[in-house]
Symmetry: C2
Subunit: 536 residues, 2 copies
């Protein structure tokens, strides 16, 4: 059947050219942007004699480059920064942070400390990126995304331990539901059997007493802890009243840990998130060209031409290739001279990027004295949360993130002077850990909107609308268009995936792009036998 389809496509190509073949392939389900499953089936010499220039050495660019190289393509990666990894950026002592409109910051960290300015956690189900880490021998360690010792902090400053919020609330919910069930209020919703089983479940679920009353639980912490001998037996605190729990504006954030993207077990690379990018790049046959800022992208009759400047020497360079995989963030790409098709150019210009900010400090590990080891404290507002380090346990010093915000609060935050941002992050830490704001030194601010070559963390395809998974909705005409190649130029980016804020999205987009590029190459070979002949 393959032969029949090939033969037919060949005939379509002879008559109607590439577009007709592509259309026919698409209608046969043989052409598309999401062919990742077929990567394994592609022979290693598939791309022989074909060249690809990849613009950008973030995860999307590196993954595309690696997978294309593995299939025989001659790949050149061009990266504007002096490092690979893109937003998967680990800041270490001595590193410089340049932001548009701000004074440069230099990291002054104690030995061994680092700060993941971009992505900092990997969920269990992100098997693509975990798989690359495994394949390239990048050691991972557990990232503690949820600690029962962390806090939910109300606007009025009242704070609840996560364990208290979760377990006292579950106690109240269980007590109330048991009451309703026992009153017969839910008899029409529950079968006799469900009712009979639900009640003992609720007793265990909420740690209720024999009469289904919630009188407090040691799950929320001890009033008196257990000790040796008969001096101290464990007892529970009285429950926090329901009204007091509900008054905490952050209460629902207790469920953050059950967002699928945030569920245990989560990971981080040992030593910094950039270890994954470095691991992939280390396995490229041709290493990435760094400090190479793209000036112009041109589609030619039979290939692409990229003009770039070598930032270290100032020399202008031009290179040609058969195909281009462009991973440059759209706000950056919109400023680069290019002869994209008009609808593509206007789609690129239309993409709105979000704000995202992190403010990090170095500090003595005062949070450990409060029995907090990793996890998140939710404070809301423009600084949103405090993120404790999952590594370096029991060492003298560690990194604490005093702000990680995005959305509208993040936008407002990024507009503030840097000194004010630092003061707000420090104050947030101090409000949760009184007296310790002053212990936080070596502040670093990252406002992703101001970071050159990024100009934002991720797009919001439908501004203001987020889907259930906390990720921007993506299914818009511009999103669909940019997920198609413009001739020989293919766009790849986490921005073009369903999860624009995750490295896995970048990887999925890269895989899809490799598949689409191969499809187009095959279509061209069928449509233009002379190309195939020339390449043979």
């Amino acid at each position: 059947m393959t032969i029949t389809r090939r033969t037919m496509l060949h005939r379509i190509g002879a008559v109607g050219g590439l577009t007709a073949v592509a259309g026919a392939m698409q209608s046969m389900g043989w052409f598309g942007v999401a062919r990742a499953a077929s990567l394994e089936e592609m022979p290693g010499d598939l791309g022989q004699g074909r060249s690809v220039v990849v613009l950008g050495a973030g995860i999307a660019g590196l993954v595309a480059a690696f997978e294309l190289e593995q299939r025989g393509f001659d790949v050149t990666v061009i990266e504007a920064r002096g490092r690979v990894g893109g937003k998967a950026w680990t800041v270490r002592d001595g590193d410089r942070i340049a932001m548009q409109g701000e004074q440069d910051q230099i990291a002054h960290f104690s030995e061994g400390l680092y700060f993941n300015a971009g992505p900092a956690r990997l969920p269990s189900f992100h098997q693509g990126i975990l798989g690359y880490a495994k394949r390239f021998g990048v050691p991972l360690e557990v990232e503690v995304n949820s600690s029962r010792s962390a806090y939910l902090v109300a606007k009025n400053g009242n704070k609840l331990r996560m364990r208290t919020a979760i377990n006292d609330m579950r106690g109240h919910v269980s007590e109330l539901l048991a009451k309703a069930v026992n009153q017969g209020a839910l008899d029409s919703a529950l079968s006799m059997d469900e009712k009979a089983k639900l009640l003992p479940f609720l007793k265990a679920y909420g740690d209720l007493q024999g009469d289904y009353a919630f009188k407090g639980t040691t799950r929320s912490g001890f009033r008196t802890g257990p000790g040796a001998g008969v001096s101290s037996f464990e007892t529970a605190n009285a429950p926090v009243p329901l009204a007091d729990l509900l008054a905490n504006e952050q209460l629902a954030m207790m469920g953050f840990e059950d967002n699928l993207y945030m569920q245990a077990t989560m990971f981080q690379p040992v030593g910094g998130m950039d270890q994954i990018s470095l691991g992939i790049e280390r396995h490229l046959k041709k290493r990435a060209v760094l400090d190479a800022e793209v000036l112009r992208i041109r589609q030619l009759e039979s290939g692409v031409e990229i003009a770039w400047i070598d930032k270290s020497s100032g020399a202008a360079r031009i290179m040609r290739a058969d195909y281009c995989v462009c991973t440059i963030p759209f706000p950056v790409l919109a400023g680069i001279e290019a002869n994209f098709a008009a609808p593509v150019a206007s789609a690129i210009a239309s993409v709105v990027y979000e704000d995202s900010n992190k403010v990090a400090f170095e500090a003595p590990r005062f949070w450990e004295r409060d029995q907090i080891y990793g996890g998140l404290t939710f404070v809301g507002g423009e600084t949103s949360l405090i993120w404790y380090p999952s590594w370096g346990l029991h060492e003298d010093r560690g990194m604490i993130v005093g702000c990680y915000s995005s959305g509208e609060p993040g936008k407002a935050f990024a507009r503030r002077p840097m000194a004010e941002q630092i003061a707000m992050a420090r104050a947030a830490i101090d409000s949760v850990h009184p007296g310790h704001g002053a212990d936080c030194s070596a502040p670093l601010v990252v406002n992703w909107r101001k970071i050159p070559y990024s100009l934002g963390p991720w797009p919001n395809w439908i501004p203001g609308v987020r889907n259930r998974g906390e990720h921007p909705m993506t299914d818009t005409p511009a999103f669909r268009l940019l997920n198609q190649p413009d001739g020989r130029i293919f766009f790849a980016s986490a921005a073009l995936s369903q999860t624009p804020g995750w490295q896995e999205g970048a990887l999925q987009s890269a895989h899809a792009t490799v598949a689409a590029l191969v499809d187009q190459m095959r279509a061209r070979a069928l449509a233009e036998p002379r190309v195939r002949a020339a390449a043979a």
Copy 2:
């Protein structure tokens, strides 16, 4: 005031002797078994000229020895095994497991693998044991006690992912409670304000729709996962029906992670639990005497005399000391010749120990292909659970615990022939990970009741009764009596704490014992001025 009290005690001693002084001190709250808080106040030369023999080099013995040495006592630790650590036992390749009534087992593990046969996790609030790990530079890593990818397995073999059980159940509970609230069924239990805040909370808590209906949630996993481009948008599965969830006998085990002793963040020492014991022992001035089996314990007029046998040479030894700290498990101690006071001897003989079993295998890490990284799968029955390793992520092979059971099911399990225990643990793994039971090799069985020098994992002071924290109740006359010294012999053990199953309990008991020993020494000095004079 101290001087007044001292003077008074001195006078009491002159008239009534040690017992009268001790009684007076106790009534002044100056004597007892729980004086851990005062350890810091004790001067470093407090015990100068006094000797203590510590029987047993588990956590209780090592901690007591270290703290006594730090206060100037001359301490000798006598340990029957060829290693320190007691039940904090890490088995490595080549190690021999001897059990009473069973053939010896030899561990045959691949390089770097180990098995914590006893305790294997440290909760955040166990600041004593964490503090020793920090003090002695024992590196810790996160122990993943709860993974949303693990399973709850019903008797009929149906299995629920932890994420599905937790989030679908929360969805149903929220929907039902919202329904009752909206019907007004709980109007007498809720204020208007509580009602107004509870409804939106429940919507977030259960991931309900606008009409408070639960239609499934991506928190429970994807029906279709998010991808690149427009090929795949994330969608949720339909919820598991409430009746199906309630039919799973293990359903309530979803709450295991909120038992305070099991809450994130939890830790394990890098390389094995014995690293903590080894770290303490390394810091003793006089290292523990190993392979020294105690034969006889005698209280003398003015000290204690211990007879023991050097197992390596067979030579009998006798040593004397001013005091003895005895950490020998009570079922073992009951078989040792001693001149304890009659009520003490009968209390020792009366202590009933529990059963606890672990069956470990080495295997290729098939669970990682199922996106399980650490955590517990609950299967119930005699094997109880499957425990996945928190370390060695992405390596070829790892240790999997196919049974960790105690209580009545554990007792029944331990009675089975070893081959049957191994077959049952393997079958449990195979039922959850079909086809992979056969991948499990190098089985090791530990039935703690059969382990020499332990004869059980922990006591059950009131057999059959467990408290809310899942720990045996401890406040019995025997427990109280053994928490008092018998003359110059002090008992210390996790068994004498409120948490007999935890190393923290052993540490707390050791601290309390050091304080009690110091109290008695002071009382003796006051009651018998000649002793003080002789020691000066």
